[in-house]
Symmetry: C2
């Protein structure tokens, strides 16, 4: 595999040393911000600022040119204006630099003059074998190296999703959103203008990258579409590829053409390969992270029979509708499962699936129910609504502090103590529920998806902890995600026959 283009990108994503060409002491310049992101982000290799007019930048000795850097450089990050880039790139190639990230804009996205500059870069890359990201890129992120060679100061959660995006803003903002939602990434690259490396190369790298278990792509257009298709076909059976294809409408394609050097015309190929090769399409930007996250943390359902635990009948109805719309089924519980549930639930429970807990506050009962449902042989997947994260709604209520305002002082203080004790108890139970769910997933090999509405004021403490579990903000999004997992499972069965 060593000869494949993808594998050789290891020195790009896990470089031993980095030169920043165009490094600066001016705090509002990318030449300051990008190396600051790298250093502050925890990168452990050498960082060599290059600038003919400075002696020290960010506490590092500065070199006049890349030729002066004393040691081999795996990665050069270039932030200079576009006109000086080809020359600098040529210097890098001569110095034996293995990879360059050209942050600078002002290339083919701006017109014919920029396109000519970009062709020169492509030529240098072709002739020297030095690989180039961009130009017109916001950079890369790599969890195994704690490398944040990025324009915005994003600090993603470490995880197993490899993400390549043909939009820097959308891509880096998705990393931030992931942080808010507990979704972690192994690698990220803002693809840029593809003067050299293109989407297929990054996919090929993800294919062979042990840190990446799930691939996420945001695409507007494909260069070398047939090669991309071959790599996707090869990758899909071992790693799910979640893809959002923008620019599918005429208006969208037009906007894509004006936004970047992205190429239209390959859409028919794209449409053809996506299902054929088992890629999982995200049909909106929220689905991108919803689905990628699920693949990262959950096993695939072996069938379409879903057990639903709900804290109120209405949510059960909404969930049943969503399941039916995604060709999933409410599992038919056998007599044994029903009587197990009957033995622990109050007499007025729903006596079937969805299992309605009817407002029971006792989380240990929720836990007992989710165990019975997950272990039921007629259940392939579980949706648990409202329990996980329930603590946050109570927290926000108590933390608001208004509940006790009208009580006498003594009574109010007593009530606050009781409330705080209750909260602590609930927080413990919430954590216990979370841990038990993770254990149950391992034990049963079945996906368990939680749904918990966002609440005011206290989303983050809950969400920060959720990177090991999949929690969705509505039953519909949970079901849509489960359906994507099942579709991929069906693809695997078709291609590998491992039912």
């Amino acid at each position: 595999m060593d000869g494949s283009r993808g594998h050789r990108l290891k020195s790009l994503f896990d470089p031993q040393s980095i030169a920043v060409i165009g490094a600066s002491n001016t705090k509002l310049k990318w030449g300051y911000i990008v190396p600051a992101n790298i250093i502050v982000g925890g990168y452990k290799g050498e960082v060599y600022p290059v600038n003919p007019h400075e002696d020290e930048i960010l506490g590092r000795r500065v070199y006049k040119s890349i030729a002066d850097v004393p040691e081999a450089v795996d990665l050069a990050v270039v932030t200079l204006p576009s006109k000086s880039v080809p020359e600098v790139i040529a210097d890098c190639a001569r110095r034996g630099v293995r990879n360059c990230i050209v942050i600078s804009g002002g290339f083919s996205e701006t017109g014919s003059e920029g396109a000519a500059l970009e062709r020169r870069i492509s030529g240098i890359s072709r002739d020297s074998g030095m690989r180039i990201v961009g130009p017109n890129t916001m950079g890369i992120y790599s969890a195994p190296s704690s490398l944040h060679a990025l324009m915005p100061p994003v600090r993603p959660i470490h995880g197993s999703i490899g993400f390549a995006a043909q939009s820097g803003n959308l891509g880096t903002q998705m990393l931030s959103l992931g942080k808010a939602l507990g979704v972690g990434f192994s690698r990220f690259v803002c693809i840029g203008n593809e003067a050299d490396l293109n989407c297929g190369d990054y996919l090929e790298f993800f294919e062979e990258d042990p840190a990446t278990r799930v691939v996420l792509l945001y695409l507007e257009g494909l260069r070398e579409a047939r090669r991309f298709a071959r790599i996707a076909q090869r990758t899909s059976p071992t790693k799910p590829i979640v893809v959002m294809k923008a620019g599918k409408t005429e208006a969208g394609a037009k906007a894509a053409r004006s936004h970047s050097a992205a190429l239209a015309g390959d859409d028919s190929i794209f449409e053809g390969i996506i299902r054929q090769y088992g890629m999982v399409e995200a049909d909106d930007t929220e689905a991108m992270l919803d689905i990628a996250k699920a693949f990262a943390v959950l096993p695939l359902p072996r069938g379409r029979r879903v057990g639903v635990l709900t804290w109120g009948g209405g949510w059960g109805v909404v969930t049943a509708d969503a399941l039916a719309r995604h060709k999933l089924e409410l599992a038919d519980f056998p007599e044994e499962t029903l009587s197990e549930l009957d033995s622990i639930l109050p007499p007025y429970w729903s006596k079937g699936n969805p299992v309605d807990l009817v407002g029971t506050l006792d989380l240990s009962m929720h836990l007992a129910c989710v165990k019975i449902i997950a272990r039921c042989p007629c259940v392939d997947a579980v949706l648990t609504l409202g329990t996980m994260g329930a603590i946050s709604s109570m927290q926000s209520f108590v933390l608001e502090g208004t509940y006790f305002d009208d009580m006498g002082e003594e009574e109010g203080q007593k009530a606050e103590v009781i409330a705080q004790e209750l909260l602590n108890k609930l927080a413990d139970l919430d954590q216990e529920y979370r841990d038990e769910v993770i254990g149950l997933i391992k034990e049963t090999g079945k996906p368990i998806i939680a749904v918990s509405l966002p609440t005011a004021g206290s989303t983050s403490p809950v969400l920060a902890k959720q990177s090991e579990v999949a929690i969705y903000p509505s039953p519909e999004r949970g079901v849509k995600t489960l359906s994507a997992l099942y579709d991929y499972r069906l693809f695997l069965e078709r291609t590998r026959g491992d039912a």
Copy 2:
């Protein structure tokens, strides 16, 4: 209008006095929690606890029976076990109580015995004219009276959305979600088993209620469907009715039947009336609040031409796709608008719609652009992506505090001061942007919708302030919402001819 059933519900939603029958000093009983919610929630009328065995509850004198309460009672809230409810209800009717909320479950939702009890309640209501909410209801909320006669301790944002839900959990959790998302309500009722008042009655009340400008319904089944249809037909031209109909699939309908006494069989009627009468369908639970919120704070677009301001090309492409899928259009800017934008934007801007700000940090430029776009005569609505709420992502980054860790102490402190100043400046600009957008909406009569991704740690300060603006967490949800506004506008044009 005084004779209509709806109008008479004013004494239910704005009662002068409330008796709680089954009031209790036991803190985990609904007989304690519900009156505590009422009192702590700020209700200003009289509250009379009724319990034959207590002297004082929640600091109020307790009455042995409803007959002993010294003054007229507009509303009785009943939390007693179902078996004793008919007798108590009969007492209330004799005492001249105008409305009862029967919180208690154990009626038709539990089987034939409960159904018999419920028929007795219906009969008492019919004979006496006393109106009954429920049984098996989580209660009501009413902003004008600060009345929280609810089982869960929800404290919604005051607003102009009147909400009736055939599910207590879903309904009250939507109130909480509204609080997290900045969506305010005028009234809420958990419809329950409809022994007397049904969905049509609440719709009729909302129709005539000056506090309610938008109606939101969560429905599983319709009683008196034809009457409901007549009221909807009458209401739609003056107040938008946003409706989520659950139980539309076979699986969902089955879950609905087991969940409540809700009635199936009327779905064909429902399907027929929803579009004919201009009701706005929410196709998932997230859309319920997304759309209701927009109707509450935004004017309707006069056409389908949308101006888009974006902070990165990818979001523009995604938005263009979403617009096309909802039969909306990217506005074609006239020469004048283009040159106005040209005069303030950097030379490499997108030169068309979407207007790509390409990462410009200067919010005053965003503001200038949104003004030019909103005032353009060829624009019917504006989507502004990434600007409003942008501060929160920077906040969360700086508040994390890791950015300065690797700097020397002095340097780090200086940088933190600069960062804090930058944040304060940005917070001011964010507020200014928000205020200017509200002003622009008033000035132009055009809807301006903001999109801002949620960020870790700092959603609430931004969201709490957003009840006057409509901010959505993805462009797709913003566009879907705009499309709902436009569909309603088209309905109004068809029915009223006021183009």
